[in-house]
Amino acid sequence: MLFFLARRVGVMLVTALCLTFVVFYLTNIPAKLETLAKTQAGSRISDAEVASWLDRNGYNQPMLVRYGEWLGVARGWTRQLDDGSMTGRCYLLTGTTIPGAAPERCGLVQGHWGNSTRFRAPVAEVIGARLGATGMLMLWVLIVMVPMALIVGVLAGMREGSRTDRTLSTFAIASTATPEYVSGVVFIALLASSTVGLSPLLVSWGWIEGPVLFQGNARSALEGITFWNFALPVMTVALYGMGYVARITRASMTEVMTQQYIRTARLKGVSFPSIVLRHALRNALIAPFTVIMLQIPWLLNGVVIVEVLFSYPGFGWTLFEAAANNDIELLLAASVVAVLVVLVTQLISDIGYVWLNPRIRVT
């Protein structure tokens, strides 16, 4: 088991290294650097000004050297200013200008994630705050999605071919066919508009005080999450993810229901609810569990869409902003986080599979 874990961690590190290099390469092609200079120093600056900005900020070294700087294996760039003080990667990161006061190397290895050019703040700070916000969103998504998906899947799968099954399956399929950018917008129109949908009706009946039932914008959830400002984004992500998990649960449930031991139990006269709850459920939930874990990285897509749509500054929103502004170090950190999420959920899913299913042993 220990060897298994060590190997997985090793693979994880190599994967992260490869991916960050790809991200680094794609964000450091000359045209992207020009974009960065123009977003940083002024959108209508001349080519000469771009060149001088890049030169002054240490962007003119070979790409591999700069990747090394970021990793912390190569020496950070330095430059003496006219007044004798020093500037450079490590000087900026440690906030000093006195020559010799800053360390030679300051990258990932030394614990420096760099600075975000878009948000003018340390990357670790930005990522930390945004991950927290997305964590809340994901938590609620899972709280809503998982029970709903399991209930729909189990109900549909316990009597295959019944009318309940047909209805719920169609619902599950329809939910996977409705992407977030459609459902989110429809939710806003129906529930968070003072001119159409449900809200004007409720107002005219005097049931709600404000002009709208739900808030179509989740910015206020940063200060305090309420049902009214968080329900729509959560529903939007959960709905799309739900269908898939429900279908896996249904498939797994139908398979379990045809097993010998279930038939035996039925013949013995055990009541149907008791069969489902006591015997079928545990075995039927193995497959959905692994799928839910693997689903988490997939939800990230939806999270980016929803966070942008509802202006909720979480991790997905940060990813979008960083990509749109070519914020190199923030993108690198974000990809490290994303890779870790993918690989850790895979690991949990594998371990959970083994733990839930005693017939399989890790070798």
């Binding site: 991916l19 950018y181 869409i305 997905g316 994303a338």
Partner: protein, 387 residues
């Protein structure tokens, strides 16, 4: 000038306008049901209600895309003065001999929503299935040897596939489908590698089957190479001497990115199935017969893996359609003014509370197509399990 149409009139006119689609569907279903016993898995589809509904939805859009030129009422890119955000059934100010109403209204730039939706089907169905197909060929070409031969090859390929899969799709798109990347060699190089796969696939496929009959082999393989390399030069490098095959840099970029994220998943599926099938008796029999590894992989294992692959293929087209819409949502990729559904939904959604028709029409179209593909996949799965 005529009065705006009522909803009943609009519905009637829509049905008339879609006449070619109804006829084609009727013929297709009549023929298919008539001969379903002779049509294998496809025929069995018509035993399942779910499958039939799914198939009908998908074919509706396929026929709509095919006959789009007969169906549309206006040029999808033309703008008509006075028709900004016009409600469904609004007559034109000055039809000038053309169709006199906007059946499903006008969008924010005074273009006909109905015509854009129909032409949009063509845009979507031109990219999604094609991209899914290329992804499949790549996944199959790499997944078969990885699963069958195993060892170092398997370890290496699996690592690369997991590498791509560990990337959040959206980040990859932000990085790859950027205008700055478009002007570098990256998309061309990637296209050069990715598009070579189908050519290699068919070459090896036919060579493995017919290498004992050199005459047939030379004919088939030669034909594949000529056509394949011709298309390859045009699609990947825009160097088709006759100018028939070609892709705008923008489209190519999107295409490459979509294939790139889909292929590893297909690879994993194929690899898994291959590892399962390779232990079967008929594979051992072929091995003792002395068949070459490529023959076994392509002519023994692949046909037996077709069930799950066809199902996944349907799902993947739907998924790709949604993915293309996501790109439209972030304003990446596909050309502006393009009537593809993702972009039109994104443009229309802003005014959804006041003028819902501009976004709802393409949204319903997209959902029905994806729903159809999902139902079709379900039907196929059910029927193939009955074997």
């Amino acid at each position: 000038m005529m009065d705006p149409l009522s909803w009943l009139d609009i519905l009637g006119r829509l049905l008339v306008q879609l006449l070619p689609v109804w006829l084609a569907l009727l013929v297709l279903f009549a023929l298919s049901i008539g001969f379903k016993r002779r049509l294998g898995l496809y025929g069995k589809l018509f035993d399942s209600a779910v499958g039939m509904i799914g198939f009908a939805l998908v074919m509706f859009w396929v026929f709509a895309a095919l006959f789009a030129n007969m169906i549309i009422t206006h040029d999808p890119l033309a703008q008509f003065s006075g028709m900004r955000n016009a409600t469904p059934g609004t007559p034109l100010r000055d039809p000038a001999g053309g169709y006199e109403v906007f059946l499903l209204g006008g969008d924010a730039l005074a273009r006909d929503v109905f015509s854009r939706m129909i032409i949009g089907a063509r845009e979507v169905l031109r990219i999604a299935p094609f991209a899914a197909m290329i992804s499949f060929m790549i996944g199959i070409s790499l997944g078969l040897p990885a699963g069958y031969i195993g060892g170092r090859l398997d370890t290496g390929l699996t690592f690369v596939a997991n590498l791509v899969l560990a990337f959040p799709v959206i980040l990859l798109f932000f990085l790859l489908v950027a205008p700055e990347i478009q002007n570098t060699a990256i998309p061309r190089v990637m296209a050069g590698i990715l598009f070579l796969m189908p050519v290699l696939f068919f070459t090896v496929l036919l060579n493995a089957r017919f290498f004992t009959q050199p005459l047939k082999r030379n004919l088939y393989v030669g034909a594949v190479l000529v056509i394949g390399l011709w298309a390859y030069s045009g699609l990947a490098f825009n160097a088709d001497p006759f100018g028939i095959w070609g892709m705008s840099p923008n489209l190519l970029n999107v295409f490459v990115a979509v294939v790139f994220v889909n292929a590893p998943t297909v690879f994993r599926i194929v690899r898994g199935i291959t590892m399962d099938i390779r232990t079967r008796d008929y594979v051992s029999a072929a091995q003792t017969r002395g068949e070459g590894p490529w023959y076994i992989m392509l002519w023994e294992i692949l046909p037996n893996a077709r069930g799950p692959l066809i199902v996944d293929f349907c799902l993947r087209i739907g998924y790709t359609t949604i993915l293309l819409g996501t790109l439209g949502f972030f304003g990446l990729g596909v050309a502006p003014e393009s009537p593809d559904w993702g972009s039109t939904i994104n443009q229309g959604r802003r005014l959804l509370t006041v003028y819902p028709h501009a976004a709802l029409a393409p949204a319903l179209a997209l959902m029905s197509l994806v729903l159809g593909l999902n139902l079709l996949a379900d039907g196929l799965r059910e029927e193939s399990l009955k074997d």
